[in-house]
């Protein structure tokens, strides 16, 4: 509490700075919200994408009809005025760091005392022949969704290039409208640069169950168009021609920083920052998908393109802006996704390939849709990470175990404590521990129970 008061004092002493945030995604908005919590600085958020903040991760649900655009806005429209956060819907073309100016495409400009760049990503296009035909697109921005609505109207077949998270989302979206999908994945199995083999194969099977024509180790060579300039088929690296009216390019995203090419702000793949999100130019910061760490935090990638990291970075930077210079020092990695009907959560580090010092225990349910994996150190048996599919784990408990460096035996014995599945769900822990005992020759027993009786005892 004492620390809190100090921050507030600092901020009040500092009030009246003019803070301009470019980008109204999760990073920029989290930063704006926390700056507002801590200070009375003037805050302006600029975006050309949408007037109000929306959840990018929910775009697929708009297409599928689960929600309308308005449902994806985490705050009611009156929130921004109430919190005196000014919103400008314009497209930024340039940053003039010498004069502390942001220039817009309509010729107008805005000056700043502090500039936060949170411009996100754009879809990768690798110069494929025909990539600019109509009906060929990525999926990242709201405008991409509008295009997809238009491009897929009345069509029967689509091809998706790139086996990652956006690719499988796009497949699910198209399948919800009964559009035939051919899914080209460069790797041997779906997302197997991230997922271990067993999990990748599980998702392979599930993709097929949803009637998607999954082509592994297949790449795009060329997109062919018709006389109207619209995509009509693609040719794979194996020479096969697949007719289609829509091509989804989902081979990753990269920082959306073209507007900085002629500025003084140093860029590489992303905007180069230190662990305070400071660029080479004073009072200019970058967070989220568009930032690239000069020296990444231990065990982290130089560019973090995840909702959760964007949110954390925005929160950390707000502190620095409000006077307490604070480094980005994230706790244990976590992430989640959903592949059609199968939920995925990961805590700590689980790589697709085990490294030298690692061992793993993997259990899969007979349905082939539920699994649990723990990766641990070969020598001291201390845990390194978890992967779960179709089975929910408690973030708090996993995080605590990783911090406490618990052993794999401890984790297997106490797994019910980490179970986050809803009431009345089948408990998998007995099966998991039985398999673990069988494989390790040990005789561990479950330490905690979760159930109706526990309800009364708690």
């Amino acid at each position: 509490m004492k620390e809190t008061i100090d921050i507030r004092k600092l901020c009040i002493n500092n009030m009246g700075k003019n803070i301009v945030i470019v980008g109204n995604g999760i990073s920029g908005i989290t930063c704006a919200r926390h700056v507002r919590k801590l200070s009375k600085h003037r805050i302006t958020v600029i975006s050309s994408e949408s007037e109000h903040f929306f959840s990018r991760t929910a775009l697929m649900y708009i297409y599928m009809g689960h929600m309308k655009f308005e449902h994806t806005k985490p705050y009611e429209d009156h929130f921004w005025e109430k919190n005196t956060i000014d919103l400008i819907k314009k497209f930024v073309t340039q940053v003039d760091a010498n004069n502390k100016l942001v220039l817009f495409s309509d010729g107008s400009s805005i000056n700043y005392d502090v500039l936060v760049l949170a411009t996100g990503s754009k879809s990768n296009k690798f110069g494929w022949p025909g990539q600019d035909y109509k009906g060929v697109q990525g999926l990242y921005h709201l405008q991409d969704l509008e295009n997809m609505e238009e491009n897929t109207r009345g069509i029967s077949n689509a091809v998706i290039i790139g086996g990652g998270l956006i690719g499988i989302e796009m497949a699910e979206m198209l399948r919800s409208r009964k559009i035939g999908v051919t899914f080209l994945v460069r790797e041997k199995n779906f997302w197997d640069n991230i997922l271990p083999l067993e999990e990748a194969k599980m998702i392979n099977r599930h993709i097929l169950e949803h009637h998607v024509d999954l082509r592994l180790e297949a790449e795009l060579k060329e997109i062919k168009g018709d006389s109207n300039g619209r995509a009509s088929s693609i040719i794979t690296n194996k020479g096969e021609e697949i007719p289609c009216q829509f091509v989804g390019l989902t081979a990753g995203v990269s920082p959306n920083i073209d507007f900085l090419k002629n500025s003084d702000i140093e860029i590489d793949r992303g905007i180069l920052v230190n662990n305070f999100f400071e660029t080479n130019v004073t009072d200019v910061y970058a967070i989220g998908d568009c930032a690239q760490f000069r020296v990444p935090p231990a065990g982290r990638k130089p560019i973090e393109q995840v909702w959760y990291t964007g949110r954390m970075q925005g929160e950390v930077l707000a502190k620095t802006i409000c006077g307490e210079r604070f480094p980005y020092s994230p706790s244990h990695w976590f992430n989640s996704a959903k592949f059609f009907d199968i939920e995925y959560q990961t805590y700590g580090i689980v790589n697709s390939q085990l490294s030298e010092n690692e061992q793993t225990f993997y259990w899969e349910h007979s349905s082939g849709k539920i699994s649990f994996r723990v990766v641990y150190d070969k020598n001291d048996k201390k845990i390194i990470g978890f992967n779960v599919f179709g089975f929910r784990l408690r973030h708090e408990v996993c995080d605590e175990w990783l911090t406490q460096k618990r052993t794999v035996d401890y984790v297997i014995e106490h797994l019910p404590k980490a179970n986050f599945d809803p009431e009345f769900y089948r408990k998998y822990e007995p099966e998991i521990i039985a398999q673990y005992n069988k494989q390790s020759g040990k005789n561990l027993k479950l330490k905690a129970r979760k159930g109706l009786l526990a309800t009364f005892l708690k």
Binding site: M1, E3, T4, K37, L38, S55, T57, A58, Y61, I62, M64, G65, H66, M67, K68, F69, H71, T72, K73, P74, E76, L145, E146, E149, E150, R153, S176, R177, K178, I179, E209, W307, Y308, R311, M312, E315, V316, F326, S329, P330, S331, F334, S336, A337, K338, F340, D341, E343, Q345, R392, H395, D399, F420, P422, E423, F424, Y425, R426, T455, K458
Partner: protein, 451 residues
């Protein structure tokens, strides 16, 4: 997005309806049509044949359609096209359907003679289970129960990836069919008072009125006394105890027929509830006003009865019943159900039900129940808020890592069922840490801003 008409107008990609589903639809429509034609009077000669055959055809047809629709796909969230379908997104069909149900309620309450032939069609069934002729309420009860059975089965198929939903929906069907339909009917068959063991004061406001209590205790045999005991015990002992352990859900989404209809027949409309802060403000003053009104009325009646009519005279009972009718019947029926396709399914539960208000106070302050948010895993997508029938902005809590402890939450569990990242979980846990207004979003401990 607003300027893109294709997203808000009817679904441009109708999902495939195969031959078996079409057969189911034909049978359903034939049954419904037969019922309507028979109720013009033509069915009176053979009421048994017409009533049973039409019900059998429409229920059977509906089952064929739903089983085929859901069992041909892998289990999982099935909300595709909800906001692109006219019926479920306040389109033309929604208005038509809403007007038809509302009209039915108006006729049922104020012009039951219009339904005379339809009521007569129910005579054979009524005689069989109640031992007397049907009336408008028997017709209504039968249709209500059928709706819960058929649409409950559909809900089980739709949410079959969640054991919580399967068991909860089965409970709803069980309590409606047994406690709210068959048992009261059979009681009448044996010349006992028509009593609903699954409804209590203050929802069944008159169960603790002096007149009801004296009627029941004056019944020959011990059953009447037991009914009074049961009603009082459920209201004052079982309700606080069960709510302490499980939250208000034990009643609102496991037992109650109003909630039961909302979660079965109303399930396609649950996303239409108003999530705005304004709606929440209206909800709070409205629902607690109804509770206060019923508590005051009941107290006055008892005081009046104690002083043998000296306080209010004889008009009191009639006065209470008129108001009760307006609140309990008209609000819960006409607006509560009739407006399903426009305002969502829990309008009555949220804005008008005194039982929900009572349970809500208990849940907010004296309960182990909460919806837990799983650390920092929320992606703010909005599915939880969209599909909350009580209009709770679940996401507002989840994205901050807060637990959801709200008086209005009926614990239907759909937020947890539709969450794509497994963030929400209905739990009964220790009171300590139940409300966490200032949580740390895990993953970012160092950046804790304590405000």
């Amino acid at each position: 997005m607003e300027n893109n008409p294709s997203i808000s107008i009817s679904n441009p990609h109708p999902s495939g309806v195969d031959l078996i589903q079409k057969t189911g639809l034909i049978l359903f429509s034939a049954g419904l049509l037969m019922f309507l034609i028979a109720s013009t009077g033509t069915g009176m000669e053979k009421p048994v044949l017409f009533a049973f055959l039409s019900i059998f055809l429409s229920v059977g047809g509906a089952f064929i359609y739903f089983f085929r629709k859901y069992l041909t796909k892998p289990a999982g969230v099935k909300n595709d096209q909800i906001w692109q379908n006219s019926l479920t997104s306040r389109g033309v069909f929604a208005w038509l359907f809403g007007i038809i149900i509302t009209g039915f309620y108006v006729v049922l309450y104020w012009f039951p003679y219009v339904l005379e032939n339809m009521i007569r069609l129910m005579d054979p069934l009524s005689k069989l289970i109640r031992g007397k002729q049907a009336d408008q309420w028997f017709l209504y009860g039968t249709l209500y129960t059928l709706a819960i059975v058929v649409m409950g089965t559909k809900a089980i198929l739709k949410y079959r990836h969640s054991n919580y939903q399967i068991i909860r929906t089965s409970s709803i069907i069980f309590f409606q069919l047994g406690f709210a339909y068959l048992i009261p009917a059979v009681l009448q068959l044996f010349n006992q008072p028509e009593f609903y063991f699954s409804y209590f004061w203050p929802l069944k406001y008159d169960y603790l009125f002096p007149s009801t209590v004296s009627d029941l205790t004056n019944q020959p045999g011990a059953l009447g006394v037991f009914m009074v005991f049961w009603g009082g015990m459920m209201t004052f002992i079982a309700t606080p105890v069960l709510t302490y352990f499980f939250g208000k859900r034990w009643y609102c989404s496991w037992v109650c027929g109003c909630g039961g209809l909302a979660n079965t027949a109303g399930d396609p409309f649950r996303q239409l509830s108003d999530k705005s802060l304004k709606a929440w403000k209206i909800e709070r003053w409205m629902v607690y006003s109804v509770l206060v009104f019923i508590v005051v009325t009941t107290s006055l009646l008892w005081i009046n009865s104690y002083y043998q009519g000296a306080v209010l005279g004889n008009i009191s009972e009639a006065f209470a019943k008129t108001y009760g009718f307006l609140i309990g019947a008209v609000f819960s029926g006409v607006i509560g159900v009739g407006f399903y396709p426009i305002m969502g399914t829990r309008v009555w539960c949220r804005f008008g039900c005194p039982m929900a208000a009572y349970l809500g106070i208990l849940q907010k302050y004296f309960s182990k129940f909460r919806i837990t948010t799983n650390g920092g895993q929320c992606i703010s997508c909005g599915n939880c808020s969209t599909y909350c029938e009580m209009g709770i902005d679940v996401r507002a809590y989840a994205q901050k890592g807060q637990n959801i402890v709200r008086a209005s939450c009926v614990g239907c569990g759909i937020c947890a069922t539709v969450c794509p990242r497994g963030v929400l979980n209905l739990e009964n846990g220790p009171l300590k840490g139940r409300v966490n207004d200032n949580p740390i979003l895990i993953g970012n401990k160092e950046a804790k801003i304590n405000l």
